[in-house]
Subunit: 349 residues, 2 copies
Amino acid sequence: MSKRYTVAIVGATGAVGRKIAEKLAERDFPVKSIKLLASAKSAGTELSYNGHPVTVEEARPEAFEGVQFAFFSAGGAVSKVLAKEAAARGAIVIDNTSAFRMDPNTPLVVPEVNPQALAQHSGIIANPNCSTIQMVCALEPLRKKAGVKKVIVSTYQAVSGAGSAAIDELEKESRGLREVTPNPSVLPVKSLEKHYPIAGNLLPQIDVFEDNGFTFEELKMMNETKKIMELPDLEIAATCVRVPVVTGHSESVYVETEKELSLDEIRQVLAEAEGVVLQDDPANQLYPMPLYAEDQDPVYVGRIRKDPHTPTGIHLWIVADNLLKGAALNSIQIAEKMIELGLVKEVQE
Amino acid sequence: MSKRYTVAIVGATGAVGRKIAEKLAERDFPVKSIKLLASAKSAGTELSYNGHPVTVEEARPEAFEGVQFAFFSAGGAVSKVLAKEAAARGAIVIDNTSAFRMDPNTPLVVPEVNPQALAQHSGIIANPNCSTIQMVCALEPLRKKAGVKKVIVSTYQAVSGAGSAAIDELEKESRGLREVTPNPSVLPVKSLEKHYPIAGNLLPQIDVFEDNGFTFEELKMMNETKKIMELPDLEIAATCVRVPVVTGHSESVYVETEKELSLDEIRQVLAEAEGVVLQDDPANQLYPMPLYAEDQDPVYVGRIRKDPHTPTGIHLWIVADNLLKGAALNSIQIAEKMIELGLVKEVQE
């Protein structure tokens, strides 16, 4: 990686945008120059990259001239307008919104799972939903070893997945657990009519409801998993729940494989899986917990059990930082993988 | 119910003991006189019943002379020693610990589900685990209509299930979400070596681990459900997780019935089920949440969805107050049902 690249971050002032800048520097991503882009309102804000001050510019089509990697994390509406403008100017767009994820012409990629999909890109790569990414990191090694037939997942999702306003809301509600007189306005879905407290509570709604009773978040997990794993017939269903945790999504996952695996085989497969760290030692009370996954790169897997009735059934508890592997880190890993695979066009200097 | 009964509460100073006293008064249970019993350490404490002061006495065998209903909620060790002493003196023991639940000679009862089991008692009736009770209230009406074959449940359990010390721990940890320097000593399991913060965290361990990797809490849910529903071959598996909620257990449940039900049939069956309140109106963001289930009697069921792949598969979200229907209320309902069924021996006045 001796070449260096011109990088733009769209949504640079947001929670994920900031994590992308942090992680690019931390990972020594070969940045030649960086543009921090945001709405006109945020333009002029002074941020920093790798210790150097950078002034935020307005995200307009012309801002992408000369950009090679554009990380988008400013909401689906912005991506729908600007991603194609950036791609038309030669940038590889790595989009962290749901705008293009289910578009058949857009690769939806977790580098540990389906790097081969990157070759088919036409300028835009979609970064999957946070809950999906951490789950497929644990499912893919099982699929490779024994096939995967059925998945039932219940999530325990942190508020940072709903942005920094949701973190502020939880924090405000948490000052004095019993005396809370909350006036929620962000969760479960800011744009909808009703809002409920999250401190001391659980919200079994993430994103809007669809006609079949599933939420859009649940359908994202179901459909994105099928696409990433190239398993259109996977029998998958999700229940997504917001919990009073700041950062770190957790998932209780039941998987049925095609072939039966022993507990030792399951452990070995997961211990060797790229990006996965096994935390599974009940005797020493070692298991994944979101508080300890915050700011960490890996997907943690533990509480591994064979189902007592179905020989091919496996129970897993999967935890990861939703802002890192669930968003910023995976986006950067996509860019790194494209460089590694020689998929980035040369530009004239 | 013109007759009145002498009642004892063992563990009267504890969280569930106090709820039992409150609920007996609130429900106009036919109490002739009440004895509040606890450890020698708590003897002499002044409590109240229905507005009248009552002095706590030490729970000794002789204290049960003349008692007709003895509600035990002082831990398994106390029940193992004193429940038989109380029963030998003619009391009907309703035991809220795990001491006798799996004893084949002890009925394990949720009055809406298996009142018929009460007739076989020999002095002791076991009150099931809190997580089990609320789940079987929703499963039983489905079983009656269509049979139940398989259950995969992931729980979101409140800290009050671990006693008032756990509530205090969460409260202390919650003052200032980011600046917490917690020094946990209660959760996940007080008697074990390691303790982790619950504020802003999730603990995928409730009770101790067994050799098969399931926790005792998970096995309780699995075994108790089979016993209560009289379904020894039920394919059930549980994952139990503690969440930073004070009171109110929640459950994401996947059920496979024997016969296929339509969504309307499922809704109707649950809407008509005794003790169940349907809260399932996605368009109006109506679904069960623990914060709103606190201090309420019913088992709330919502987020009802047909599985997208398995025609007999159903997804449910079930919430109830773990101290009420999960403990105190169910215990009292057992006593009420025994009176109603004429199962309480006459005593000489």
